[in-house]
Amino acid sequence: MIDYQFNTADLFFALPELFMVAAIALILLLDLFVSERFQNLTYYLTQSTLAITGYFAFNLIGESAVIFDGTFVLDTIGSYFKVFMMIFSIVALVYSRHYLSVHNLLKGEYFILSLLSVFGMMVMVSAHSMLTIYLGLEIMSLSLYTLIAIARDRAVAIEAALKYFVLGAIASGLLLYGMSMIYGITGSLDIGQIAAFATGANLISEQVLILNFGLVFLVIGIAFKFGAVPFHMWVPDVYQGAPTSVTMFLSTVPKIAATAMLVRLLIDGLGGLQAYWADLFMILAILSIGLGSLVALMQTNIKRLLAYSTISHIGFILLGFITGVVEGYGAAAFYVLAYVLMSLTAFGTIIVLNKQGFEADQIVDFRGLSKHSPWFALIMLFVMLSMAGVPPFIGFYSKLFILQQVISAGYIYLAVAAVVFAVISAYYYLQIIKTMYFDDTEKEVTVTAPMDMRIILSINGALILVLGLMPSYWMELAISLF
C-alpha cells in the first residue's frame, strides 16, 4: 500500500466517471440559480452529460487496466455495461419528463439524483475492490431512496421509500458482514487477490468454510438488489408506491448494475467457489420464476404486476449464472439487456397514458387503447408477448439462450420447470392484451405525450421486434463480454 504511486495517466481510464461527477457538481450549482423560465435547462444538461459520458465509455471499449491501487478496473464488460446504462438512462429520462410534467413533479433535483445514482452504478460496474463496490452501491441506493420520496405529498411513495431504505440498509449490512468474513480470511479487499486466494490449491477446509460463510451473505446482498425470492419483499410495494417514472428507472438500469456487482464479486472474485454459489442460485432462480409467475396472476395494479414479472425475469437471469460457463454468463447478460429494453418499453407505455392529474396504474386503464391509439397498443402487445417468451420477439431469444445453456449444463428439470412457469406467466401478459384489444369501452383514451417521447418509445418498441428478428450480433457480443 505504501509504495503506491499515483499516476496521472491513470485518470484517463476513469474519464467517464470523472466527467460525470464534475458535471453533476456543475449542474447542481446551476440548478440553484436558474430561474423558472429555464426549467428545462437541467433536463437538457443531464441528458447531455449522460450522452457525453456514454461517448467516453464507448471510446474506452477495448482498453483494460486496473488502476488506483487496485480499486478500479476498466475492462470490456465494464465499458459495454456503462454504454448501455447511459443509453437506457437517457431513454428513461425522456419518458420520466412527461410523467413528471403532468404530475407537477418536474424539479431539477430529480435529474441530479438520477445522475448521482447512475454515477453510483458506474462505480459498481468498475469496482475492483469490495470497498469500491460498497461505495458504489450506497451512492446508487441513497439516490434511489430519495428519488422515490420525491413525491413527498404522497403517502404511498413515502412508505415505499422508507420500506426500501430500511430493507436496503439491512441488505447492505448483510453484504458488509459477508465482505468482512471474506476480508478476514483472505486479508484483502482487492478482488484480484481474493480470486487468487479462493482458487488457491492448498486451502484447508476451515478456510473454505469461512469463505462459504461469507459467500452466503454476499449472495443475499446481491439477491436483495436483484429482488430475487426470498429477498423480494420490497419489490412489489416499492414498484407500486414509487412514482411510475422512478419505478421504471428502478426496474431497469440498476439491474445492469446488480449484474455487474454479481460479476465482480462472484465471478471475478469468488469464481473458484462457483459450484457453491451455483447451488444457492438454483434455489433463488426457481423460487423467483415460480413465485413471480404465480403471484402476478392476481394483480390488478399494473406496476405491481410488472414487479412480479420482474421477479420472474430475475429468476431466468440467475439461471444463466448457474451454468458456470462463459456462454451461460453471456446468456444471462443478454437476458438482462433484453429485459431492460422490454421493461423500459412497458413502463414507457404506461407513462404515455398518464395525463394531467391522471395516474394510469391500473390494468383497466389500458381498456380500449387499441381503438384510440393502435400504435401504442401494438407496442404494448409486442412487449407483453416478448415478456411471455413468444417468438419472434427478443424475449423469446433471451429465454432460448438461457434454456439452451441450462440444458447444456445438464439441468433439464430446471428448464422444464422454467418453461411451465413461463406458460403460466403468459396468462397475465395475455390479460393486458385482452384489456387493450378485446374489451369494449366508451371511454376515450387520449395520448398527450410530447413528440420526443412518442418517437423514442416507438423506436424502443420496434427494437423488441427487430432485435428479435436478428439477435445474432447481440448474442455474440454478450458472450464476448466474459
Binding site: 385482452k434 445474432s472 448474442m475
Partner: protein, 515 residues
C-alpha cells in the same frame, strides 16, 4: 424463381403490414389491397406445383442463409410433396377467407384483413421450415394473429376462447422447444436433416416423442386435449374458424409427418398403439358428441376432431403393417401387400387436404346463415331451402362430402385410411368405418333440421339467397371437393416419392446400438 418460397412467406406479411398502415378509416382501399395480395400470393404458389419435381424426395425450392450463427440456426426453407400441398391449401383458403369477409366485417376491417395476411405468411413459414427453431418461431408466431382474430372479432365468449386457445397451444409447444434444445446439444444442429440422423436411445426418444406429441396433439387436436377447439371455433368469426379448421389443425398433422416419425421412429413404433387408440376414441366418441350438438358451429367443430382422427390413425397404423429388416428391406408383417401401407399414409394426407376444403366450406355455410339471422342454433332454422335454393344446393353437397359420399373428397381420404388400417388390425378398420355411419347421421340430421322441413321461424322466409361473392367462394370449394373426390391421382403422384422416403425414415431405427 430463386426465392419463390421466401416471397410466399414475406409478401403476405409485408402486405399485411401495409394494410395495417392504411388503417380502418380507409377500409375499402385496405380490402382491395388485401384481396390483391392474396390473389398474387395464390397465383405465385401455383408455381410450386408447376415447378415441382415429382421424381425426387429431396427438398425443393431450398434457401439456406445463416441466421443465428452462435447456435447454428439457419433460415433454411424448402418443400417436399407433403408441405407443398399444405402451402397451396393455405394460399387458397386465405384468398377465400378474405373474399368471404368482404362486407361481413365492418368493425376494424383493415386490421382483420391484415391479421389474415400476416398469418398466411407465418403458416407458409411453418410448412416450409427446415430448421427446427425457424419452425418453432413460425409455429408460435402464427398463434398471435389467431389470438387477436378470435379475441377481437369473436362472439360472446370470445375472450375465454381466445386465451384458452393460446395457452393450450403454448403449453403444448414449450416442451417441444425443450426437446429441440436437448437434441441440439446432442447433435450440434437444429437442422431437420441433422435431427433426422441423430441417434437417440429409446428413453431419449420416448421423452422427445411425448414432448412432440403434446405439441402436435393439441393442434390436431386429439382426444383428450381437444377441448379448446369447440370453444375457439364457436367463438371465432367465420374467417377465423375457416383458417383454424382448414389450416391450423393441419399444422399438427404436418408435425407428425415432419417431426415425430423421422426424428423418433423407434418411440413412434413403441407408442403407436396408444396413439391409434386415442385416434379411435376421437373418431367414435367425438362423433357421438357431435350428434347431440345444438349449435351448428359446435357440431362442425366436433366433426373436425373426429375427421382429424383419421389422419393420426392413418399415420400410426403403418407400424402394425410393415417392419424393416436388418438389411433395410421393408417387409409386411400383417401378410398384406406393401402398397397398403401407403394407403394409410397418403390417405391421411388426402384426408387433411379434403378436410381443409370441407370444413372450410361448412364453416362458410354456417357463416352465411349467421350473417342473415345472427343465430347458430339449429333450432332457429328449418326450411331454409324455400328461401335459399342455390345456397342449399351447396350446403347439401358439403354435408354429403362431410359424411363421406363417394365422388367427394371426403370419401377418398377416409376410404384409403380404412383400407390401410384394415391391414393393421380388423378392429381399427371396424371402428373407423363406424364414423361413416355416425358422420352421415349427424351431418344429414343437421341438414334435415336446418334446410328441409317446414319453416318454423318466420325470419327464415325472409332470407335472401347468396350473392355473387358468396356463390363464388362456395363454388370454388365445391369444385375442389369434387375434383379431389373424382380424381385424386395428381395429389397422390405429387406426394408419393416423399411418402416412400418418410416410410423409410419411420422404419429405420435410430437406436445407437443398431447404428
Amino acid at each position: 424463381m430463386e426465392s419463390l418460397l421466401s416471397l410466399l412467406i414475406w409478401l403476405p406479411i409485408v402486405g399485411g403490414i401495409s394494410v395495417l398502415v392504411i388503417g380502418n378509416n380507409r377500409s375499402d382501399l385496405a380490402r382491395w389491397l388485401s384481396v390483391a395480395v392474396s390473389i398474387i400470393v395464390f397465383a405465385l404458389s401455383l408455381n410450386l406445383w408447376t415447378g415441382f419435381d415429382t421424381s425426387t424426395h429431396g427438398m425443393q425450392f431450398v434457401e439456406n442463409i445463416p441466421w443465428i450463427s452462435q447456435f447454428n440456426i439457419n433460415y433454411h426453407i424448402g418443400i417436399d410433396g407433403i408441405s407443398m400441398l399444405l402451402i397451396l391449401l393455405t394460399t387458397l383458403s386465405t384468398f377465400l377467407v378474405i373474399i368471404a369477409g368482404w362486407e361481413v366485417i365492418q368493425n376494424r376491417a383493415a386490421d382483420y384483413m391484415a391479421a389474415f395476411l400476416i398469418m398466411e405468411g407465418l403458416i407458409i413459414g411453418v410448412f416450409s421450415s427446415l430448421d427446427a427453431i425457424l419452425f418453432y418461431v413460425f409455429w408460435e408466431a402464427s398463434l398471435i394473429p389467431m389470438l387477436l382474430i378470435v379475441g377481437i372479432w369473436g362472439g360472446q365468449n370470445r375472450v375465454y376462447a381466445a386465451i384458452k386457445f393460446f395457452l393450450y397451444t403454448f403449453l403444448g409447444s414449450v416442451f417441444m422447444l425443450v426437446s429441440l434444445i436437448y437434441m441440439y446439444i446432442q447433435g450440434g444442429s437444429f437442422s431437420l436433416d441433422a435431427l433426422n440422423d441423430l441417434p437417440l436411445s429409446l428413453t431419449e426418444q420416448s421423452w422427445i416423442f411425448w414432448a412432440f406429441f403434446l405439441a402436435f396433439a393439441v393442434k390436431v387436436p386429439m382426444f383428450p386435449v381437444h377441448t379448446w377447439l369447440p370453444d375457439a371455433h364457436v367463438q371465432a368469426p367465420t374467417g377465423g374458424s375457416v383458417i383454424l379448421a382448414a389450416i391450423m389443425l393441419k399444422m399438427g398433422g404436418y408435425g407428425f409427418f415432419r417431426f415425430s416419425l423421422p426424428i423418433t421412429p423407434d418411440a413412434s413404433s413403441e407408442f403407436a398403439t396408444i396413439v391409434i387408440v386415442l385416434s379411435l376414441i376421437a373418431i367414435v366418441y367425438i362423433g357421438f358428441v357431435a350428434l347431440v350438438q345444438k349449435d351448428m358451429k359446435k357440431l362442425i367443430a366436433y366433426s373436425s376432431i373426429s375427421h382429424m382422427g383419421f389422419v393420426t390413425l392413418g399415420v400410426f397404423a403403418l407400424f402394425s403393417v410393415v417392419k424393416m429388416d436388418v438389411d433395410g428391406q421393408i417387409y409386411s408383417i400383417a401378410g398384406g401387400s406393401l402398397e397398403s401401407v401407403y394407403l394409410g399414409l397418403e390417405g391421411a394426407m388426402i384426408q387433411m387436404i379434403s378436410h381443409g376444403f370441407i370444413s372450410a366450406a361448412l364453416f362458410l355455410v354456417v357463416g352465411v346463415l349467421y350473417e342473415r339471422l345472427h343465430s347458430r342454433d339449429i333450432s332457429s332454422y328449418g326450411g331454409v331451402i324455400n328461401s335459399m335454393p342455390k345456397f342449399t344446393g351447396f350446403a347439401v353437397l358439403f354435408a354429403l362430402a362431410n359424411a363421406g359420399l363417394p365422388g367427394t373428397s371426403g370419401f377418398v381420404g377416409e376410404f384409403m385410411v380404412i383400407l390401410g388400417s384394415l391391414q393393421a388390425n380388423f378392429w381399427y378398420a371396424f371402428f373407423a368405418a363406424m364414423i361413416l355411419i355416425v358422420g352421415a347421421a349427424y351431418t344429414l340430421w343437421m341438414v334435415k333440421r336446418v334446410f328441409w322441413g317446414p319453416i318454423v321461424n318466420s325470419d327464415v322466409s325472409t332470407l335472401s339467397d347468396i350473392n355473387t361473392r358468396e356463390f363464388f367462394v362456395l363454388a370454388v370449394l365445391a369444385l375442389a371437393v369434387l375434383a379431389v373426390g373424382v380424381y385424386p391421382q395428381p395429389l397422390i403422384e405429387v406426394m408419393h416419392v416423399s411418402m416412400i422416403n418418410l416410410l423409410e425414415q419411420a422404419l429405420t431405427t435410430k437406436l445407437p446400438a443398431a447404428l
